[in-house]
């Protein structure tokens, strides 16, 4: 595993857009702190039409970023949803204006714990305020205001992206024509909080974490962050997928070595996942964003009646889950669907058969894509968007 000891990536000049928001009207966070003059990095694809009616907001997941549909400038890998977003694809950038912002708390150019705190001239570190999913959505709404977009044709996202989609409809129902929360939940489960806590403890147990001030010391808690990624990555897969991909096969050897080297292919794979991840992700961002997900509980905000979060919404919903996803199981999606039914919302819901676990939403799953395409085409017809 290659562990870079310093992160020298300059995320203030990536090939994307940057905007400073909150200069006049500061952002008021759920924790009570106000932020003025902060930067949001975002990527766009396609053209906004004259009516400004074809905007699609893509919300990224925990470790995603704004590079949804083009080659990632740091990893040089395809965009995280390039199978879906692009010219002639399901989220057709010849037809829609696609906006994908890096979330607040992130580490790809939007304000987060690794950016400079103007009060001290040093990286925020743990002085950065704890953010929530609702805060992420507030920032996105400010970005849309800046872009002059009153209403989105669609808000779409998987996992934490799906949480943002749900939050969008709860907070700004009149601004979302179609909502696609995929492989997600209206509240983070005890099991998911548990896995996140393991990840955070791994980071904080790394001596290089230095109570969050690692940047001041010129080090990075790479080992802790890599372990956090490895543990989380297991939850994104499924036993069937791991067995199919790796089984008990050995890594470049004929027999086990009676040591703690990566004897098994699956160990080697996980180590590689951890190693690649630390090259592009910030440990403190991982703490802040997992915390935001843990705090997400739309139901509690509406006194235990999830349906009230969606009451009166005229949004068209498409809720999708995957059979082998044990991180965000179908039952979580069904809770959302039942709440939507309770207010007679316009909702489609399908459980897609896949053995790829939670990650299925990122992969080339033909049935998933067929349903997604059909729903979007139908919604676009209702929106009056030309084909």
């Amino acid at each position: 595993m290659t562990v870079p000891e310093t992160l020298s990536i300059d995320t203030s000049a990536l090939p994307c857009h940057y905007v400073t928001l909150g200069a006049e009207d500061p952002l008021r966070l759920d924790c009570g702190t106000e932020l003025g003059d902060f930067t949001v990095a975002y990527q766009t694809y396609g053209e906004l039409n004259d009516e400004k009616s074809n905007a699609v907001l893509v919300c990224h997941a925990l470790t995603g970023d704004q590079f949804v549909g083009d080659t990632h400038p740091i990893t040089k890998k395809p965009g995280w949803w390039e199978v879906i977003v692009g010219p002639g694809k399901i989220i057709d950038t010849d037809r829609y204006y696609v906006i994908c912002p890096n979330v607040i708390g992130g580490c790809m150019g939007t304000i987060g714990p690794k950016e400079i705190n103007p009060a001290t001239g040093q990286p925020w570190g743990l002085d950065f305020p704890v953010i929530t999913i609702a805060d992420m959505v507030r920032v996105q709404a400010m970005l849309l205001d800046h872009l002059g977009i009153d209403s989105l044709f669609a808000a779409i996202g998987g996992s934490m992206g799906g949480m943002q989609v749900l939050e969008w409809v709860a907070s700004y129902p009149e601004r979302v024509f179609a909502a696609l929360p995929i492989a997600t939940a209206a509240r983070h489960s005890a099991q998911n909080i548990s896995f996140h806590e393991v990840g955070r403890q791994a980071i904080m147990a790394d001596p290089d974490w230095r109570n969050g001030d690692y940047r001041l010391h010129g080090v990075r808690p790479c080992r802790g962050l890599a372990v956090a990624r490895m543990a989380a990555h297991i939850t994104y897969l499924s036993e069937a997928a791991l067995t199919r991909k790796f089984g008990r096969r050995l890594q470049d050897r004929e027999a086990v070595t009676f040591g703690f080297d990566a004897d098994f292919q699956v160990e080697s794979y996980l180590r590689r996942q951890g190693g690649v991840f630390v090259e592009r992700f910030d440990a403190n961002s991982y703490l802040y964003i997992t915390r935001a997900m843990d705090y997400f509980d739309l139901e509690a905000r509406y006194d235990g009646v999830l349906a009230d979060a969606f009451r009166g919404a005229r949004t068209r919903f498409c809720v999708l889950s995957f059979t082998s996803d044990w991180c965000y199981p179908t039952e979580e999606s069904r809770r959302i669907v039942r709440a939507l039914n309770a207010v007679a919302a316009n909702v489609s819901f399908a459980e897609i058969v896949s053995d790829c676990g939670h990650d299925a939403f990122l992969l080339d799953e033909p049935e998933f894509h067929r349903v997604l395409a059909g729903f979007l085409d139908g919604a676009a017809d209702h929106r009056g968007l030309p084909r």
Partner: protein
């Protein structure tokens, strides 16, 4: 990535159901299959249509054709809908496959201002004759499953259904029996013959 809608003639019982539904109304089709009725109603009667379907293939076919359909079960999912949420709730050829037909029926007239229910009539003369002559569970072209692997676990007759509605205080606004050749027959005023000659029945109900 365009899914072209297939637009073809719908089954005769679905046509009868469609004829009972006013334009521009709100419709929930429970057990909507591949969405043939919803598709017809959406395009020819401009209804605001929704569906519930048990089978994954059915749901995926519907959603990928732009219909608003959820994967769900008549027995468990109807309870989550509010009273009077729809002008019509349709249950076509599904009642006999539910675990609790009475509860389902109760939910239909609760959720819908009107409910439309169609089902195969187990008292049709051909089925009576089959049972009498063969002494075995009747099978026909439309009821082709063996008794041990049929999804149809609660068969009833037209008369059974009329009695159940009466017992539940449900008003029958319209009822039509369909003969084997598609001939329509009024059930009210001719229950005995409808129950003998009707291969299936369509009821328009309200609480």
């Amino acid at each position: 990535m365009t899914n072209k809608l297939r637009r073809k003639a719908i089954r005769v019982d679905l046509q009868i159901i469609a004829d009972m539904i006013d334009s521009d109304s709100r419709v929930l089709d429970v057990g909507c299959g591949d969405g043939a009725l919803l598709d017809y109603l959406t395009h020819f009667k401009q209804v605001d249509g929704r569906g519930i379907e048990l089978s994954t293939e059915g749901v995926n076919a519907c959603v990928s054709h732009g219909l608003s359909v959820i994967q769900g079960d008549a027995d468990t999912d109807l309870a989550y809908y509010p009273n009077g949420a729809f002008d019509y709730v349709v249950l076509s050829q599904t009642l006999q496959a539910t675990s609790n037909p009475k509860d389902v029926l109760e939910n239909l007239v609760r959720i819908g201002k009107r409910a439309i229910v169609s089902f195969p009539n187990f008292a049709h003369w051909w089925l009576r004759g089959y049972l009498l002559a063969q002494g075995r569970m009747p099978k026909s072209k439309t009821l082709s499953d063996e008794w041990y692997d049929t999804p149809n676990i609660h068969f009833c007759t037209i008369k059974d259904f009329v009695v159940l509605c009466r017992g539940m205080g449900i008003t029958v606004e319209k009822s039509i029996a369909l003969d084997k050749d598609g001939t329509r027959r009024r059930i009210q005023g001719g229950l005995f013959s409808a129950n003998l000659l009707g291969q299936q029945a369509v009821f328009l109900l309200r609480r």
